[in-house]
Point group: C2
Chain length 478, copies 2
């Protein structure tokens, strides 16, 4: 199998840009505002580029075909919210920065079909709203939903809090339209639930982070809107009890369990320290969970949660609990969970990790994690996240009175220790954020060599000139 492409790339400025002006409307050429060269964590900064914002799939195809011929790099750009640097490159000749922001039509919403087709530039929150207007639910829910766009969400296979019930972005996509690296248009939009006609290119493009083509539109699954919702916070005996409680909940309530979030004591301490206005319904239990239910019209969430609490209390899994008596109270519970990332930012983490481990090994992982971090020094660990998916946000902070910059020399050791431990448990060092440019080395370290070789062969087959998002996911050869 062949290695990644090595051909020399050329600049998008000058001749290439001038040539495109004959084939694209003037509106597709936009000023390169600084935001297109930045990313939220400030680790990468682009230096130059040609910003193009096509309004149709055909315009995308014109750009890609021209870039293919001229050997110009193309960096697809969605909402700019990615956390792994997939949307910014500084080590290339000025690339095309291909913003999907004008390719933003909702093409179709069909509540009978339970599907909608939206273009890549549609913002997630807008997609959620359009589904709601049709009496349906588009369940993907992530912190950046007010600015993240569907194309980027699919390209990174975004996750979030409702993966337990509804799956991640991949699982919610029925079909994609994309421009492949040779400029051809893959006509894969379809609401079909069963379609076994050849290789599943949809799933290959989803999660490829723009390295195998540009997703231009997608047909997304819609779900029934849960009409009766409920939530509870329960203090649990220990992390192992969270797993038993989750299974008990799913055995009793089935798929109605929409979210099951683990909260460690440290997160509550951080809230008390930085956001004292957030009310903590259970005080400061060492470990607690937030359980969210969404049932059909015939369901009774409060009764289901009361029954669950009683059974779990009798089994010694939970020690305390509170069940939301109103939608307002449910909202308050979620405020606790959703404020933790902001509290983390105010404290200032030394190193944060987007990892997943097999669900059953979460308790051991948490125990061992404390050990490996303690060997490096004195730190505070805030471990929280989506237990139902095995997806932990495992963040390491300085002790009180110290700052993250005091530990710059330990950051790499912490990251390596957490990633090594994750890997030893068969976990993933990129659970929901993707690889981007941040984790290219991690991929090489932790991912199966046969997988990497096959990825390189596929990349070389579909993008022999290596123009699509060069340096993301796979290292550029040469």
């Amino acid at each position: 199998m062949k290695d990644t492409p090595t051909e020399t790339l050329t600049t998008a400025k000058g001749t290439f840009a001038d040539g495109l002006r004959d084939h694209l409307p003037a509106a597709a050429f936009r000023d390169l505002e600084p935001r297109y060269l930045e990313e939220p964590r400030g680790r990468w900064a682009g230096t130059d580029g040609l910003l193009l914002a096509p309004a149709t799939t055909e315009e995308v195809a014109i750009i890609i075909k021209a870039a293919q011929q001229a050997r110009v790099a193309v960096i697809p750009y969605g909402g700019g919210t990615g956390l792994v640097g997939g949307q910014v490159s500084s080590d290339l000749p000025a690339p095309v920065i291909l913003s999907l922001e004008r390719l933003n039509k909702v093409r179709n919403v069909d509540p009978v079909e339970n599907a909608m087709t939206v273009e890549a530039g549609v913002i997630l929150q807008q997609a959620q709203e359009v589904a709601e207007e049709a009496g349906r639910l588009f369940p993907l829910t992530i912190a950046s939903q007010g600015s993240a766009r569907i194309g980027g969400i699919l390209s990174t296979n975004a996750g979030g809090v409702n993966v337990l019930r509804y799956g991640n972005a991949r699982d919610l996509c029925l079909g994609v339209e994309a421009v492949l690296p040779d400029g051809s248009i893959l006509q894969g939009l379809s609401p079909l639930r069963k379609n076994n006609t050849g290789y599943d290119l949809r799933h290959l493009l989803i999660g490829a982070e723009g390295t195998l083509g540009v997703i231009t539109a997608a047909t997304l699954k819609l779900m029934p809107r849960p009409v009766r919702t409920g939530a509870a916070m329960m203090a649990i005996r220990d992390p192992a009890a969270a797993l038993d409680l989750l299974n008990m909940a799913r055995d009793r309530i089935g798929e109605g369990v929409s979210a099951f979030e683990l909260i460690g004591r440290m997160g509550l301490d951080f809230l008390a320290e930085t956001m004292p206005e957030v009310r903590l319904p259970l005080g400061w239990p060492e470990w607690s969970v937030l359980i969210d239910l969404g049932l059909g019209a015939s369901g009774d969430p409060a009764a289901a949660l009361e029954g669950l609490f009683e059974a779990a209390f009798d089994a010694g899994l939970v020690t305390d609990g509170v069940i939301a008596q109103s939608e307002g109270q449910r909202h308050d519970f979620w405020t606790v969970r959703e404020s933790i990332p902001e509290a983390n930012r105010r404290i200032g983490s030394i190193s944060s990790h987007d990892i997943s481990v097999p669900i059953a090994s979460i308790p051991d992982f948490i125990r061992d994690g404390t050990g490996v971090i303690a060997k490096i020094g004195d730190f505070r660990i805030n471990c929280f996240g989506h237990v139902g998916d095995g997806n932990l946000h495992y963040n390491v902070f300085p002790m009180p009175g110290r700052s993250r910059s005091d530990h710059d020399d330990q950051r790499d050791a912490i990251k390596t220790a957490v990633h090594d431990l994750t890997h030893s448990y068969g976990g993933s060092v990129s659970a929901e954020h993707g690889v981007g440019r941040l984790k290219v080395g991690d991929l090489e370290t932790y991912v199966d060599p046969a997988k990497l070789a096959a990825m390189r062969a596929i990349k070389a087959a579909l993008d022999p000139a290596g123009i699509m998002n060069p340096g993301a996911v796979l290292r550029r050869a040469g």
Copy 2:
């Protein structure tokens, strides 16, 4: 992008087989019984081959590596139940017929993780039973589950009656181990729910029908077992009412709707004619549906179905209905549905079609189908299937007193008419059975050229010698 491989293949008999004897245990060499050269529909018959039945993944890798070096074709063989000839070839130099029957261990079942890892040769029904013993559900349910094996089920992305609720084989697989065409072992077994580390090779291998490698084991999702089940048969106003009723059911009952099957009058007539012992609870309604529920401990299926019936009756969607009052009665309802394929066999179809269309277009498709078939001649149409997935079994039969052989000259015209109509509705000419050798031409006719070109490029990149199941899915070039 390159075309499919054209290199000349050589025979597995003689030198190749002799050379392998030094590297494989004697037990891996088996007699080539006739069943390995047959398939259920009798359209293809193999002529020769070297039957190998490895017991470990490493043995599979030894075989594939040797086949790669010697340019010997490899045809993976699971349960032999495939309906599209993916498991039999007659136009190759004697291939290796790689039976997975001895690679049949259940490696791990973990009810806390809600996952199990099984080898490719495990029979589906055994996987279901192992899950049940652990208090969990492996929900994939197909007619051939007593002999179909997990490797084949994944390679063809099998579907069945529970796709509405649980998805098809693809959706139930968390990770795969596979031997790639170069003999390397892809170590992709994993119960992780969130893992965004590079291209999703799992989904590329699933549905590739053995043309990109051999799946040797898989980690499968387990679900909570519904503890309270129920079923109803309802006579509906017309096919359009089925869609409204399905959405009404899902809005009221959520994901608890496990199956929703459409039954046309013709199927009931066929039952009366060929299997009069099957009791028909509603008589002979023109159109009816079978609704199956599986709820958690707190659910009440009978009450939910009664409420649904009343609401649907008031809305004019249903005209009659019966709700199972016992597990025995639920079983009787299913007997009606599951006997229809046998009744079809006894009548003898001229042409049967495994198609899907967008759910919302099912009523129009059924209306138009009657029209296009009538233009060809006088026939009986039995249309039934998984409405919730848009997956119809659309079968055309001779009129009473005539036999299928009277219509041999019309078979192609019927098939083309049904496939053309399906395609015009954006449907799929292979919904759940796959492409195999039967539908290679259909793929070329109906599938997006950009998709076909990308498939060929991927095939050439991963299997440059073209040894893996040559002639299935993609035509051999040259």
